[in-house]
């Protein structure tokens, strides 16, 4: 059974600081996704990582994938309050002819002034 572990689960940081969220998974996969969820809202797709070494950047967020280490990271640069949200990683694994997504438990990020 695929296990997806995010850490930390809770992250409180100050504006202007840098930090990294980690997503480890237990079985071979070549596709990983990062989502953002604001309180009371649904999930919004942030990044799609489809190969080993993939790196994507959007604003102050950068995601990378190392399929050999079964690890993805979401790096936050110079955090601002607007980045406060819950961030989920999701791993795609082929089961039969279909891929199934398994989500981590999420990282609740709070950026303080």
């Amino acid at each position: 059974e695929l296990k997806v572990e995010q850490n930390p689960l809770f992250l409180s940081m100050q504006e202007g600081k840098n930090y990294t969220i980690y997503c480890n998974y237990s079985t071979t996969s070549d596709r990983l996704y990062w989502y953002r969820q604001d309180p009371g809202k649904s999930l919004e797709s942030l990044f799609v990582l489809l190969s080993n070494g993939a790196v994507k950047q959007e604003g102050r967020l950068m995601a990378s994938l190392d399929t050999k280490a079964r690890l993805s990271t979401l790096h936050i640069t110079a955090a601002v309050h607007d980045l406060s949200a819950t961030y989920f990683c999701a791993v795609g694994v082929l089961g039969g002819s279909n891929y199934k997504l398994t989500f981590g438990k999420g990282t609740l990020l709070t950026v303080n002034p």
Binding site: K41, S42, G92
Partner: protein, 113 residues
């Protein structure tokens, strides 16, 4: 933009009632999913469907069934609602079996009393 619409934002139902949660997507996606989200547990897959009238069990199908009579619509059915089914339910769709970037609806918060 992909739009995934869930029929209700909030529902309150009584124990033992049959409950229908409806989801419609407008982008001709083949795959559709139902997740439930609970604090500390992240998102867990209940059922998914990769074609009309096709369905597969996810990780926690007990107490639920689904229906997909048309490509754009995927319904989640609670045959006899129980209090432990109080949760946030999220519907998602993705383009094809091998394109797993999932787009989410706004969620339905179901309370069973």
């Amino acid at each position: 933009d992909v739009k995934v619409t869930q029929s209700s934002r909030y529902l309150v139902k009584r124990t033992g009632e049959k409950v229908f949660l409806e989801c419609v997507q407008d982008m001709d996606h083949e795959n559709m999913f139902w997740y439930r989200q609970d604090p500390g547990l992240g998102l867990r897959l209940i059922y998914f469907s990769y074609d009309v009238k096709m369905k597969e069990k996810g990780d926690i199908p007990e107490g639920y069934s689904v229906s997909r009579e048309k490509k754009e619509r995927f319904s989640l059915i609670l045959e006899s609602a129980s209090t432990n089914q109080t949760s946030m339910y999220l519907c998602a769709s993705s383009l094809s079996p091998r394109n797993t970037e999932a787009f989410f609806g706004q969620g339905t918060r179901l309370t069973v009393v």
